[in-house]
């Protein structure tokens, strides 16, 4: 069964304190790993897609990396506005109709304290 597991469930950091969020996956033949940001009461916002081991993507203070078994979202010198839930998802083939889609992890709730 395809699974995506994120850790930690919650993380509290001081402003400027860098850290990493982890996403591990067990997916047959990974064809894409996705990161989203979700603010409370809103829909997820797309951040990155990674397709192959060794690939990296950056956006402001965020950098996503991918290995054969996991992905990391590195947050450098975070600010309070980076507080959100970060979701990881893997591309899978749906059993019902054979179409491709995403299976999500439960997310990491990140709080950056000023």
């Amino acid at each position: 069964e395809d699974q995506v597991t994120q850790s930690p469930e919650a993380l509290r950091l001081q402003e400027g304190e860098s850290s990493s969020l982890n996403c591990s996956y067990t997916v047959s033949g990974l064809r894409g790993l996705f990161w989203y940001r979700q603010d409370p009461g809103k829909g997820p916002e797309f951040l990155f897609t990674l397709y192959s081991a060794g690939e990296e993507k950056e956006k402001e203070r965020l950098k996503a990396t991918l290995t054969k078994k996991e992905s990391f979202l590195h947050i450098t010198a975070p600010k309070p506005e980076d507080s959100a839930t970060y979701l990881c998802a893997a591309r899978v083939v749906y059993s019902g109709g054979g179409a491709d889609g995403l299976t999500f992890g439960k997310g990491t709730h990140l709080i950056i304290q000023p």
């Binding site: 897609t49 019902g96 109709g97 179409a99 491709d100 995403l102 439960k106």
Partner: protein
């Protein structure tokens, strides 16, 4: 760019009442469309997806149904709501040439009382 519209933003319904949530897509044609439910501590659960008009697939058996009467319209329905149907419902669309970059709507918070 693609924009996903959903309404209503919040909804409180009694047990046994019907449900209709609507999602429309702007800025692209023939998108893949998805309905998810997000419950506290359980992550995003895929409910239905559609690759075209009238084509609906379900990943999880449930009390809900979906329809796609037009290319850019996706509707989630129920004939009789259960308490367990409470949650945050999200519609998402995937662009044909980048179908896995799913773009989400603002969501509907449903409370069944």
């Amino acid at each position: 760019s693609q924009t996903i519209h959903q309404w209503p933003a919040t909804l409180v319904q009694p047990v046994g009442s019907p449900l209709s949530l609507e999602c429309t897509v702007e800025g692209t044609s023939n998108p893949n469309l998805y309905w998810y439910r997000q419950a506290a501590g359980r992550g995003l659960q895929l409910l239905f997806y559609s690759v075209g008009i009238g084509q609906i697939s379900s990943e999880v058996p449930q009390n809900l149904s979906a329809s796609r009467p037009q290319d850019r319209q996706f509707i989630l329905s129920s004939k009789k709501l259960l308490l367990s149907d409470s949650g945050f419902y999200l519609c998402a669309g995937g662009i044909r040439d980048r179908p896995y970059e799913q773009y989400f709507g603002p969501g509907t918070r449903l409370t069944v009382t």
